[in-house]
């Protein structure tokens, strides 16, 4: 019973809030005020029983003895003092005392913010290119170092300090070359995978097209084949993108058209946008051109970010409507349709009442 009542209440309140889309109306007002009242009451109860009592009332807790012995009890005094200063706001004459607390809160936040955002700043100020060695250059360096080590071992003796040092250097170079080799291999492997995936996708698509041509275009089989082809194409795109990623991680410093284009765009973007934000430079002349470039980047960002969000927002709506749909069935007494019809009736009646009033006036 309680569960069904819960469904009715939930559906009703959802519809109350949705009615705002039509316009401000009594249903929405009830929902809104209910919401405000409940949330404050809810957080008050939560705060008192789940946070404040456990934390502050430790003094009367059975284990308080231990706490006093540990000399921790005085730690409660400063926040208690600051907290009670906030309450002076209820006494206008002493309300200014609350500023002490505000000063603490604001100072605390500021002190904490500096190192926190400093970290962010560091992340953004990172060089745009991290040098990644190509296999060829790393291999060349390693070979040279190895030769030098061998020569030194021959001339100065294998046990000599210099030879050992050269050996260690050479090892290090070789290790780097090996890592570069692994990256290079990863690129070719990813490339091969992508080629294979693309070929498979092409085959699947061809097959689907042929089937559609041959048989009835709307049959189950054709649908299945088309779906398969779509999936294969998606997989191919995924594989191709993975290749790019592997590639961009393999050799950045060597001039590669795509990697460099991306880097240069990134570079110009960061520069022009930062430039746009300078306070002490007027946007005139060449500065104007550059800051306008910054605006272009900003616009692309805003658009892309907006477009990217649409899905998330619609998922929410979808989720809500699923709940309303699930309350359409007899098991919960047709909650959605009943409430919807009732609400619409009331709104229509109210609408005509208001119209009458307006006309009479």
């Amino acid at each position: 019973m309680m569960a069904i009542l819960g469904v009715w209440v939930a559906v009703g309140l959802t519809l109350f809030m949705f009615s705002f889309l039509y316009k401000d109306n009594p249903f929405y007002k009830v929902g809104e005020n209910l919401y405000v009242g409940i949330t404050i009451g809810y957080s008050l109860v939560k705060l008192i029983f789940e946070t404040w009592i456990p934390n502050v009332w430790r003094v009367v807790h059975p284990e308080a003895g231990v706490w006093f012995e540990n000399h921790e009890w005085w730690l409660i005094l400063p926040p208690l003092f600051l907290g009670s200063l906030i309450l002076t706001r209820f006494v206008p004459k002493y309300a200014w005392l609350s500023r002490w607390t505000f000063a603490f809160v604001v100072g605390y936040g500021s002190g904490l913010a500096i190192p926190a955002v400093q970290k962010q700043a560091e992340a953004t100020a990172h060089p745009l290119v991290t040098h990644i060695e190509s296999f060829d250059s790393a291999d060349k360096a390693a070979t040279e170092a190895e030769k030098k080590a061998t020569d030194l071992a021959a001339s100065k003796g294998a046990g000599s300090d210099e030879a050992i040092k050269a050996r260690i250097d050479a090892d290090e170079y070789r290790e780097r070359a090996n890592a570069a080799k692994a990256r290079k291999d990863a690129v070719s492997a990813a490339g091969a995978r992508a080629d294979k995936a693309r070929a498979a996708a092409n085959d699947a698509r061809k097959q689907a097209d042929e089937m559609a041509k041959k048989g009835p275009a709307d049959s189950e089989e054709v649908h299945a084949a088309q779906k398969k082809a779509t999936l294969a194409e998606r997989a191919a795109i995924g594989a191709e993108m993975a290749t790019w990623t592997a590639y961009s991680k393999s050799e950045y410093s060597v001039l590669t058209a795509w990697g460099d284009f991306t880097t240069i765009v990134l570079f110009i973007g960061v520069f022009s946008v930062l430039f746009y934000f300078f306070f002490s430079i007027e946007h005139k002349g060449p500065v104007k051109v550059f800051s306008r470039l910054g605006i272009i980047f900003l616009m692309i960002y805003f658009g892309a970010s907006y477009g990217y969000t649409v899905m998330g927002r619609l998922s929410l709506l979808y989720g809500r409507l699923v709940i309303l749909r699930d309350a359409c069935y007899p098991s919960v007494g047709f909650a959605t349709p009943v409430l919807l019809v009732a609400m619409i009736t009331v709104l229509v009646v109210l609408h005509f009442q208001n119209k009458d009033k307006e006309e009479n006036a």
């Binding site: 957080s43 929410l316 979808y318 989720g319 809500r320 749909r325």
Partner: protein, 276 residues
């Protein structure tokens, strides 16, 4: 157009059409599979690689507002964890409202997957303080969570065996609709060297993509699309997978709105000078 409708404006028409499209597509659902991208697979692989019986921490940092995007994600991950016989510990950094929600999700998923409370999973509480809270559990778990959400002592919970601090978890998953992931990054990854996976709303995903490059997170599930891919990976099509065709349809609808908006705008503009 009737004067009544005109008063309500084009906005109302947009609302009406959109509502209709979603409702209709709700009634005719067809699901398509969504292959996993490497980004999503990063989380999947991390879970897959854990030895049986290892503890995994899920920080459920969202409230009902983000339910539609994050619940399917969390359910798919929970199913995956239990299938791999991992011990799942759930807590929250976000708000007092997050735990009741998390409890509902976990208990429902546990019923579906036959997981037992306190053995296969344990629910902790909400811990305010973000970074401070992460740092605190990094030092000592019991000082922050002396008991479970249902007031059970840690010693009585088999799932909590051997866990004394954050570092004892083999993997931490932050499923969030807020900036709580920053606390996990600064406190968990940077300070205590945990492995972190991230599930977040689609909006936030772009912000956290760079973390993949710097390897601060192993993978990222962004919004419903991320959830749908994870569902495909664990072969458990659920709500996220169901929603995908609807998404395509609505996206196209909105693009048509934009086009229509432009046509109306310019048609209106061209007509004006004639009238004047």
């Amino acid at each position: 157009m009737s004067p009544e409708l005109k008063k309500l404006g084009p906005r109302w028409v947009v609302f009406g059409i959109l509502g209709l499209v979603v409702t209709v597509s709700l009634l005719f659902k067809r699901s398509t599979e969504f292959p996993g991208t490497p980004v999503v697979k990063g989380v999947y692989d991390a879970v897959e690689e854990l030895p049986e019986g290892s503890p995994i921490l899920i920080s459920s940092d969202f409230d009902p507002g983000s339910e539609a995007e994050l619940v399917p994600m969390m359910k798919a991950i929970l199913a995956h964890c239990w299938r791999r016989h991992l011990r799942v510990i759930v807590m929250s950094l976000q708000s007092p409202n997050a735990m009741p929600l998390a409890q509902g999700i976990v208990e429902e998923a546990a019923r579906d997957n036959g997981a037992k409370e306190d053995e296969d999973y344990a629910l902790m509480n909400y811990k305010p303080g973000n970074l401070a809270a992460v740092l605190a559990i990094g030092q000592d778990w019991a000082s922050q969570f002396p008991e479970s959400y249902k007031h059970r002592k840690l010693a009585d919970i088999p799932a909590m065996k051997g866990i004394t601090r954050l570092g004892d978890f083999k993997y931490v998953l932050c499923i969030t609709a807020t900036t709580s992931v920053d606390s996990w990054l600064l406190g968990g990854v940077t300070k205590y060297g945990i492995k972190l996976g991230l599930g977040c709303t689609a909006v936030m995903a772009t912000d956290y993509y760079p973390l993949l490059d710097t390897k601060q997170i192993t993978g990222l599930l962004g919004g419903l699309a991320g959830a749908a891919q994870y569902e495909s990976l664990v072969k458990l099509p659920g709500k996220a997978t169901d929603g995908m065709p609807t998404q395509s349809l609505i996206h196209v609808t909105i693009i048509l709105f934009i086009v229509a908006g432009n046509i109306l705008h310019f048609a209106g503009k061209r007509r004006k000078p004639e009238a004047a």
